[in-house]
């Protein structure tokens, strides 16, 4: 499934990285603990989190995550957007809480174990 399918179905706001929305999503991971994401996320995952600071871009890049979705109406810091832009990494936001958003993405067929 393409990232863009998730953006449309879940009505996500795309902050940056529009040029990478055609990338394939293989699975998903939801966590706010960075060393947990480092340990357990997989290549091609979409990452659901409430973290908005710039260090999450390094985590996403190192783990080959395809995009970050910030929940609960949280907005990325400006430096986070700058770093994501230079990596062509999509950041998306939603007003939904994590449970609702993950449920929607799961029902589209995306799994945490893959």
């Amino acid at each position: 499934m393409k990232l863009d399918d998730i953006v449309k179905s879940c009505n996500l706001h795309v902050v940056c990285g529009e040029e990478s929305l055609e990338n394939e999503v293989n699975g998903g991971y939801a966590s706010d603990l960075l060393s947990d994401v480092m340990a357990h996320s997989k290549k091609g995952d979409i990452w659901v989190t409430l973290q908005v600071h710039p260090n999450i871009i390094a985590v996403a890049k190192l783990k080959e995550i395809v995009g970050i979705i910030m929940i609960n109406g949280r907005k990325p810091e400006q430096e986070t957007i700058n770093k994501a832009r230079s990596e062509r990494l999509p950041i998306m936001t939603t007003d939904l809480p994590a449970f609702e958003l993950v449920g929607k993405i799961y029902s589209m067929g995306i799994r945490g174990k893959h």
């Binding site: 060393s35 871009i57 390094a58 985590v59």
Partner: protein, 152 residues
């Protein structure tokens, strides 16, 4: 050149300074290491393990030490990652290695650090993991990952 010379020959070496407390640029050195290893054609599973250990080590210097240096040495059949810092050192290594143990501040925890998983994850992803430390002086990590001929 005999076999042991070929084995100990450094094919590639890089060093990065790390500044304590610099959360904005934290992780950049690990990303650079990952990019370089990709360019020289290292196996992707090995890169994944190096990326995890380098990131966790880099973040620990940023969070707990004054400053440090991370260096990567690629040999024919192994990769050696060392992280040296000037900082408070670790009083009880056994305790620090326990999953869940953390002295991270409230502010760091709000940023998603301080799960107490960094050191255990480094150990898990390394073929050999050595930590030496002196309280009041600093800490040195030596992480070795074998290439198993996958780098040929």
């Amino acid at each position: 050149m005999n076999k042991s010379d070929a084995r100990s020959e450094v094919l590639f070496q890089q060093k990065f300074p790390i500044r304590g407390g610099d959360f904005v640029n934290a992780g950049d050195s690990s990303c650079k290491i990952r990019n370089t290893l990709r360019e020289i054609g290292i196996d992707s599973d090995i890169i994944r393990r190096i990326a995890i250990t380098a990131y966790e080590a880099e973040m620990n210097v940023v969070m707990y030490a004054e400053r440090g240096v991370m260096s990567i040495n690629v040999y024919r059949d192994e990769i050696l990652l060392t992280i040296d810092d000037k900082g408070p050192g670790i009083e009880n290594i056994d305790l620090a290695m326990q999953p869940g143990y953390s002295t991270a501040t409230e502010e760091m925890r709000e940023m998603g650090f301080g799960a107490g998983m960094g050191l255990p994850n480094m150990k898990k992803n390394a073929d050999t993991f050595k930590i030496t430390t002196e309280v009041g002086k600093g800490t040195r990590l030596e992480i070795k990952i074998l290439l198993d001929g996958k780098n040929d």
